[in-house]
């Protein structure tokens, strides 16, 4: 774990938050670590990482305007490429524009 000390200073949830904030200029950002619900997951056990593998993410960003759902999800995944390569396993994503939220 020593070589990962610099990263370990921030939790993955915090890193996800700051990466999405800067990439998407989110007006609302909610990150919920739901890794405990997937604790028995075969791939999670194999990765050897303790927790911080599964997150629910809600992002509201004007940058989603005019984008399909697929492309909005891709924008989120693109911002988190490093995390996905270092043990982040899955995200459940809610991606809305400020207008869509206001309608509710």
């Amino acid at each position: 774990m020593g070589s990962r000390a610099a990263n370990a200073m921030l939790s993955r949830a915090q890193r996800i938050k700051s990466k999405l904030q800067s990439a998407l200029e989110a007006s609302l950002l909610e990150i919920d670590d739901v890794s405990h619900r997937h604790a028995g997951h075969a791939a999670v056990r194999a990765s050897g990482s303790a927790g911080e593998t599964h997150f629910n993410v809600k992002v509201v960003s004007a940058k989603f305007d005019g984008k399909t759902l697929v492309n909005r999800h891709r924008m989120v995944y693109d911002a988190l490429t490093d995390e996905l390569q270092s043990g982040l396993h899955a995200l459940s994503i809610v991606a809305k524009t400020p207008q869509e939220i206001a309608k509710k």
Partner: protein, 94 residues
Amino acid sequence: MIYMKGVPEFPQCGFSSLAVRVLKHYNVPLSARNILEDPELKAAVKSYSHWPTFPQIFIQGEFIGGSDIIMNMHQSGELKEKLKDIAANRDKTA
């Protein structure tokens, strides 16, 4: 077509399981590949669709998305429309 973790009868991931359950609801023919058993296939699908996680759902060759998107389309009625067209076309050619 669904690229998933495990097989439809025994999914090895909650998201794959959810996606299979949604798709089965529509009674359409479903092909599945287990990407846990084939790392090369897994890498190829990821780069083809530009999508990093599984499951991944394709309808008639078109990339639809992962489990969140399938669930969303299921709830909005969009998935029903999409699969209805397929069923109608198949009946015509049969």
